[in-house]
Structures are given as C-alpha cells and as structure tokens.
C-alpha cells in the first residue's frame, strides 16, 4: 500500500541486477581507460556472455561499448590538452589508452574537427564560447532506455520508453535444421535470397517443405561490430532425423531450452529495432538473462510488400536463462 510504484518484484530485481552489472562494466572502463579494454574483458567484468553483452550495453547506455570507450578516451584527452599545457601530445595519447599518437591525432580530428595542437592553441576556447551561444543541437542517436540517476545511484528506466512489448517464454525442442550459410551481410541486396533458394531446392524434393514448414534465420554477427558486408547469416529450415548434410547444405541442432519470444513486423529496419527492443527494453525487466547461443528469427509467412520495400513478420527468439 505504501509503495510508490507497484512493480513486480522479479522485474525490479532484474533491473537492479542489470544496473549492478552495467555499473561494474562502466567502473571497469573508468579504471582501465589508459589500458587495453576488449569487449571480452568488459563482458567478463559485467558477468554477461560476450555474445549478448554488446547489445545490452548499447541498449542501456545508448552507444556501443567501443564507441563509448573511444569517446571517453577522446574527451579525457581533450580535457588534459586544455588543462595541462605542459604535457606533450604523445603523453596525453598514451595516458588515454591510444597506442600511437598518429592514431590519436586522426581520431581526435574526426571527433573535434581540429588537431590536438590546434585544440590546445585556442581551438578549445573558441569552441566553448560558440557552444555557449548556440542552443544544444539535436542528437540523432535514439534515446537510451535507461539513464543514470544521481539521487538513487542506479540506472533508471526513462519515462515514456515503456511501449508494450508482448514477450512469452517458450520451451524450444532441439530443432534439427538444414542450413545454407551466407557470409555477406544482412542487406536487402546482399543475397540472403540466394541462400534460401539453394536451401529450398534441396529441402523441397526431400519432403521438408509444406504449409507447415518452419523457416528460420540465424544472424550470428552484430552489424554494429562486424563490418556490414561480412556478417554471417544462416538460412535454416527445420527437418527431421532423416536429413543428411549435402554440399552447401549443412545440418545442425539448435540449442534447446528456454527462449524469450517476441513478434515483430515491419520493413528491413525492423530487425535492428526488434533486437534493440528485446535486449534493451524487455530483458532488463524480465528476470532473465541471455544465454550464450545465437538468437533466431522464425519467419511467419513469406515477406510481403515490394522487393524494394519488403515487409516481414517474424518471431524473434532470444535464448535465455534465469538471472
């Protein structure tokens, strides 16, 4: 009765646990800003599997970990340059975790539009005065779902980010799938269709296609990390124990067990949104954490719309385990 909000306790507990782990990751970054910060070490510090850590971090913080680390390093360096005129540029670079001053200068220019020396020689002052005059610019980045609260010292969910997302937990049997690999990215023209064509030509005559077939897509790489044209995608169709691998067509068994399943529909950009919604909005309040296995896209019907503007309906399956 006296509680300000009636959040289910499991949800509150998960949110707190996610916040605690995120803090551990951010602390780790803070402590090691001058050293080597890899995604793997960061994930380990946060007790998340490296497989999903990138998405969770991006969703909660609003930018990918590597970008966040680079931004922090550059900002720290910019501060040092402005405030410690006696420290050499190379020294600043090394103190902020850049391996060479050449790399540092290039990244610095990209970010601040001038060389570290120009920054130190009056560029910073000019920029500061200009920024105070003009209104703060619009940030094109989507707003992160969480923000740091100084009052409670935790990450709190932003108001207005609680769009209803119907997610169910499903027990998936060890689906045996036939797959054709596609290693050239997820774009519309990238040729995922060719992988499916090869798969269907194989699966059809063997009796694995019909009105009840289950067609899956496995996106193994995160396009925010892996170069767009190198992302791996497996086109899959569920088969039975009679299926045998043959040439380009491989056979594997999907990790059985609990999956969090959400249904999404929309154009080509829906996939990115779907992953963000599941990892950033749903998971932190769910009482679950992602398990170390790939997520699955289970297609509902075939794409509609035009080839330039296809529309998809699919269930996104995220492997989960209790927190």
């Amino acid at each position: 009765m006296g509680e300000p909000r009636s959040l289910p306790s499991a949800s509150l507990r998960t949110q707190k646990e996610y916040a605690r782990r995120l803090n551990a990751a951010l602390d780790y970054i803070g402590r090691n800003i001058a050293g080597d910060i890899s995604l793997g070490k960061l994930a380990a510090a946060a007790c998340f599997s490296p497989y999903h850590f990138h998405r969770i971090f991006t969703a909660l913080v609003g930018e990918p970990p590597a970008e966040y680390v680079r931004r922090l390093r550059l900002e720290k360096a910019a501060g040092l340059l402005a405030n410690e005129p006696a420290t050499a540029v190379t020294e600043v670079a090394l103190a902020c975790g850049f391996s060479t001053s050449a790399l540092f200068c290039r990244l610095f220019k990209t970010r601040f539009g001038m060389s570290p020396t120009a920054w130190r020689g009056g560029g910073y002052e000019k920029r500061k005065n200009r920024q105070q005059e003009s209104k703060p610019g619009k940030d094109k980045r989507p707003r992160p779902a969480y923000r740091w609260s100084e009052r409670t010292k935790t990450w709190e969910r932003r108001a207005g980010m609680t769009k209803k997302l119907a997610v169910r937990i499903e027990d998936v049997p060890p689906w045996r799938v036939a797959y054709v690999k596609h290693m050239k990215g997820y774009g519309d023209g990238a040729g995922i269709g060719d992988a499916f064509e090869t798969l269907f030509c194989w699966a059809g005559p063997r009796g694995f296609m019909g009105p009840d077939m289950r067609v899956l897509g496995m996106a193994l790489d995160n396009p925010d990390i892996t170069p767009q044209d190198k992302c791996r995608y497996y086109a899959c169709v569920v088969v039975n124990e009679r299926a045998e691998a043959d040439g380009r067509v491989g056979i594997m068994t999907i990790r059985p067990g609990k999956y969090a399943v959400g249904r999404f529909s929309g154009g080509s950009d829906v996939f990115k949104r779907a992953y963000e919604a599941m990892y950033g909005e749903w998971l932190p309040g769910s009482g679950w954490q992602p398990d170390d296995a790939p997520a699955l896209e289970s297609y509902v019907g075939e794409p509609t719309g035009t080839p330039e503007k296809p529309r998809f309906v699919f269930d996104l399956y995220i492997p989960v385990k209790p927190l």
Binding site: C201, P205, G210, P211, D212, E302, T306
Partner: protein
C-alpha cells in the same frame, strides 16, 4: 519492379463461409501440379508436397531477382479421387489418388516452370524427383464450403456440401478439391481452415 497481389485478386474465390455452402464460377488458373497415389501421411506424399514448394519458391525467387516481378506463393491445394469412391470412407488410403497444386500468376509460363524444375532437380541432387508440371485448371461452376477443424473430421462437412449440390438441382462432376489455408503446425487442429470445393453441372 512489379508486384502481383494474387491473394487480393483471387480473394473472392478464397473467401468462403463455414455456415452455408455457396455456388461460384471459378476462373481458369495456371498451376504447378504433381500427381500421386497413396496415404497423405506417407513419404511419397511428403516428397510431392516438398517438391511442389521447392519449385514454387524457386520460381518466385527467379521472378523476383531476375524479372522484377514479385508475387506470393499461394496456398497448397489438393484434388482427390479414387477408382472406387468408397475407399475414402473406408480409409483405404493406399488407393487414394491425388493431384497437389499451387496456383501461379499469369506471368509465369510453361517455359519458366520447365526451367525452374530443371534447376531444382540439378540443385536438389535427389534421385526420385517427383514430376512437377505446369497445367491450366479450369473448374468453372463449383460449390464450396469452409471446413474448420482437423482434416480427418471433414466427413460431415463434405456430406453437407454434397447434399446442398443435390438440393440446388446440380450434379457433382470431376475431382473433389481442397484448399489448405491453415498451417497444421502453428494452429490447433480444431482451428484449421480448409476450403472444400466440388465442380458441378
């Protein structure tokens, strides 16, 4: 790029009442077909369904990628008959004869189908590839009703359809026709929707 919305243009023939049978005039349509005999739960039937889908999707991809035409793969349909119709009631499934089909848009020609069949055969490397062919299906006047429920429970609905045809002063002709709108895995058996159709004269 052109989009052919077959599902929309053919909607009048696929929108069927489960409450009472109706008489319609079905236009001639091109289709992919494959013939066979035997139990619909057996491997021969499964291979036939799969091959039909394999060719249907290959055609769809070919048209989308190479010809700039996009169309949906339509629902699976089946034509059923037997030398002695009593085998349907008695469940002697070995004697059931069937032709499975998937309707195609008019842009797809016999030549396109032959090319797709050859491509699937080559890629599939499958010894017993069922003969998938292109044929025009012209049913004309027909009576139809929606059956909602498992396939095995179609009996009473079929009887209702036949009684209706008789009451309206028509006679059955040709093969019994079923259009499988439901997805046997994703919907519960009692919710499966199947159009039951029979040409009449």
């Amino acid at each position: 790029m052109r989009t052919i919305d077959l599902k929309k243009s053919l909607k009048p023939f696929y929108t069927v009442s489960a409450k009472k049978p109706a008489i319609i005039d079905v236009p001639a349509m091109n289709a992919l077909m494959v013939d066979g005999t035997g139990d619909p739960n057996g491997p021969v039937f499964q291979e036939a369904v799969g091959s039909l889908y394999g060719v249907a999707y290959t055609l769809k991809f070919t048209f989308k990628m190479k010809k700039g035409v996009d169309y949906p793969v339509m629902a699976l349909e089946g034509l059923w008959c037997a030398d002695d119709p009593a085998v349907f009631a008695s469940g002697k499934r070995d004697e059931w004869k069937w032709t499975l089909l998937i309707v195609l848009p008019d842009v797809v020609t016999k030549k396109d189908v032959a090319a797709a069949v050859a491509a699937v055969k080559k890629k599939a490397k499958f010894p017993r590839f069922p003969e998938v062919r292109f044929e025009k299906l012209a049913e004309g006047k027909a009576a139809q009703i929606m059956h909602i429920g498992p396939y095995a429970a179609e009996g009473p609905t079929i009887e209702r359809l036949h009684r209706f045809v008789e009451e309206q002063g028509y006679a059955l002709r040709g093969w019994h026709h079923e259009i499988y709108l439901g997805d046997p895995r994703r919907s519960a058996p009692e919710k499966l929707r199947t159009i039951l159709r029979h040409p009449i004269s």
